[in-house]
């Protein structure tokens, strides 16, 4: 690395370790990243591969198209909640109410599609209404956090109890509401045809490739150094492989056959929310508030506005997840939103590498974390283990992931200063 400072950003020079080639450069970059506490997605992707291989040997019916589709649908609801959790954690806040806000979302949808209730509306509209209602809940909770200064832990703990109470109160008499609307149920039970699946994989790959290309062109136009080309290429190959690989396996499933819509919805929100977090001023401000709220305020950022919007996102995503979870069982019952939903959603984000202290993490972490949790629980289930074992293993994975992250962070502090 050359000694004088700014030449890294001059156009023709490229990144310093570009001068090394092939494996040496890869190794060097990996070493720098590990030293600076930036592990990226590599550990979790490797972990996921290990889990899949392990259960493929352990349980004969694990690595099948049918089970693959199962995992996708099972993780979809949790992943949606976890996406919202990422934003809340980025602020350094917490939202404990999401599981029952998801219940409220499911309840609203179920109530609005109920035939003969006098307020039955189109299923699509019902879903929009549920998301809006939950976003308003988030706005209310966020406002108390942002304006009054009550800790989010307390506000959302209260929300946890209140919304659970609302669900119990509303469903006490019927016990459950069956969801018959086909649009709502499609979110968990629609499967694309083979061709549609391939098309979707193609679109995802193309959109990603175009985004990468746009970024490279923009940098070239501004005369700014372009990141390591081999890494960009590797990511592109990885994304294409994951997209087409998923479709290939899903298309081998017998019943239900094809790529599940739920999986496509997860990817859709993954892309949209990643864009929001990394490419917009709003996302930048979320990271800033999470990193140093006072600095953000002095920089002219409207901190309360950011906080409220983040809690709205969190609750709105809870509603989306709640709808999918309800559609998966075609009903909403008294216990909806209980169990491990809340903790799985938070664990998913944390396993993926989102810091609980704010300012560090990515939306994709929730995706990968939710995938790990769903795969492990599905794998143990398929291999015939009891629920108790599943909880224990999930707990150990959570602890392991956070320990790894904490050690990485310590190294980062040491390599700075």
């Amino acid at each position: 690395m050359s000694a004088s400072g700014l030449d890294v950003v001059t156009p023709d020079q490229g990144a310093p370790d570009e001068e090394l080639h092939g494996l040496a450069a890869v190794y060097r970059r990996a070493l720098i990243n590990v030293k600076s506490g930036n592990l990226g997605v590599l550990p979790i992707v490797l972990g996921l591969v290990f889990i899949v291989v392990f259960f493929s040997f352990k349980a004969t019916n694990f690595f099948t198209g049918n089970n693959f589709d199962n995992i996708i649908v099972q993780m979809a609801g949790d992943a949606m909640l976890a996406f919202g959790v990422v934003f809340v954690l980025l602020l350094g806040e917490i939202d404990l109410s999401i599981s029952y806000v998801a219940g409220i979302g499911a309840l609203v949808v179920a109530e609005l599609q109920l035939p003969g209730s006098g307020h039955q509306i189109n299923g699509l509209l019902a879903m929009v209404a549920a998301v809006v209602v939950c976003a308003l809940i988030g706005a209310a909770q966020g406002s108390i956090v942002a304006f009054v200064g009550v800790p989010s832990f307390v506000v959302t703990l209260a929300g946890f109890m209140i919304w659970q109470g609302v669900i119990l109160q509303k469903l006490e008499q019927p016990g459950s509401i069956i969801i018959q609307d086909r649009w709502i149920n499609y979110t968990a039970s629609y499967y694309f045809s083979n061709i549609a699946g391939w098309l979707i994989a193609g679109i995802i790959t193309a959109v990603y490739a175009l985004t990468v290309l746009g970024g490279v062109l923009g940098k070239r136009r501004a005369g700014v150094a372009i990141g390591r080309p081999w890494l960009v290429a590797a990511k592109l190959v990885g994304i294409a492989g994951a997209a087409f690989g998923t479709v290939a396996i899903s298309n081998h499933a017998q019943v239900p056959h094809g790529l599940p819509l739920a999986g496509v919805l997860v990817v859709f929100f993954l892309v949209v929310l990643t864009f929001l977090a990394k490419r917009t001023t709003f996302g930048r401000h979320v990271y800033a508030v999470g990193g140093n709220a006072e600095a953000a305020r002095r920089a002219g950022i409207n901190v309360p506005r950011i906080r409220i919007l983040v809690f709205m996102i969190s609750s709105a995503m809870a509603a989306v997840g709640g709808i999918i979870l309800a559609a998966n069982v075609n009903s909403v019952d008294l216990n909806f939103g209980g169990g491990t939903l809340l903790l799985n959603a938070i664990a998913a984000a944390v396993i993926g590498g989102v810091s609980l202290f704010g300012g560090r993490g990515e939306v994709r972490a929730a995706f990968l974390g939710a995938l790990v949790i769903a795969t492990v629980s599905n794998g143990l289930n398929t291999a015939g283990y009891a629920t108790g074992i599943i909880y224990m293993v999930t707990g150990v994975i959570l602890l392991f992931a956070v320990t790894l992250d904490t050690i990485a962070r310590r190294l980062q502090v040491r390599s700075g200063r």
Partner: protein, 262 residues
């Protein structure tokens, strides 16, 4: 040197409840000069700066900027005038990189609120280059990985990037080592050479005598005097800080301009 001062404060008074933080304080700074603002703890330095920055508003008194009276009600007003403050605790986000910090709150974006990263990166590199900040390896590294001096340099660069006319530095060398202090002081002098007005608040008289053109001393919320660096000594300034007599007393006309220099 320019005849009208860039910033002129007249009879600024500010109290917090029963505590009188500032009483009839006058202050001025011209373009191209480094004005040091010194005083013991509780002398009112920070309060005075916060009145200029818009964090507090003065109870009474007037603020003249480029000869015209202005009213500063918030940080945005100050920024619009071209006044930037670099605070003691730096006001940088550790988790963001240099470019992201430089543009924090004023990101370049299109109508979709999409960030224009390449442009921001390029401009950041230009700004750092123009200030001869050469110790930062990559403008894409998180601020957490920078040294204290580098962080201070980024904070200063962030302040001057916006065509600012006046930069106020609150204890810029408080947490720095010897070499890094030199780095930052050199940067402060360069700012003045580039035609900015600079106010430096410091406890460290060594820093003050290294950089300042003039020195304003406050004591217990009142003016003690304004000294020209070339015609004073550290002893004289220390004496003013610890035992200086207020140069004007509230409500008694005729004492208003009896400072050490006019």
């Amino acid at each position: 040197m320019n005849e009208t001062p860039l910033l002129q404060l007249r009879n600024i008074t500010k109290s917090f409840g029963s505590v009188q933080a500032l009483s009839d304080v006058d202050f001025e700074v011209r373009t191209g000069e480094v004005m040091a603002l010194v005083g013991d703890n509780g002398a009112g330095k920070s309060t005075l700066v916060k009145c200029v920055a818009g964090t507090h508003s003065a109870d009474s008194g007037e603020i003249l900027f480029e000869g015209e009276e202005v009213h500063i009600h918030g940080p945005k007003d100050a920024a619009n005038l071209g006044i930037e403050v670099v605070y003691q605790d730096l006001a940088l986000c550790d988790n963001l990189d240099v470019v992201q910090n430089m543009y924090l709150g004023r990101e370049t974006h299109d109508w979709l609120q999409r960030l224009k990263e390449p442009i921001m990166e390029q401009k950041t590199a230009e700004t750092l280059k123009s200030l001869a900040v050469t110790t930062i390896n990559s403008v894409r590294q998180p601020v957490a990985t920078l040294s204290g001096g580098q962080r201070q340099s980024v904070a200063v660069a962030k302040a001057v990037q916006w065509n600012s006319k006046l930069v106020i530095l609150d204890e810029p060398t408080a947490a720095l080592g010897v070499a890094q202090t030199e780095q930052v002081l050199a940067l402060v002098r360069r700012l003045a050479e580039q035609g900015l007005a600079v106010v430096i608040i410091s406890h460290n008289l060594h820093d003050v005598f290294e950089t300042a053109t003039r020195i304003t001393v406050l004591r217990l919320g009142r003016n003690v005097g304004v000294y020209e660096r070339a015609r004073t000594t550290q002893e004289e300034v220390v004496h003013a800080i610890t035992a200086g007599v207020p140069t004007k007393v509230s409500g008694i006309p005729g004492t208003a301009h009896a400072g050490a220099t006019a």
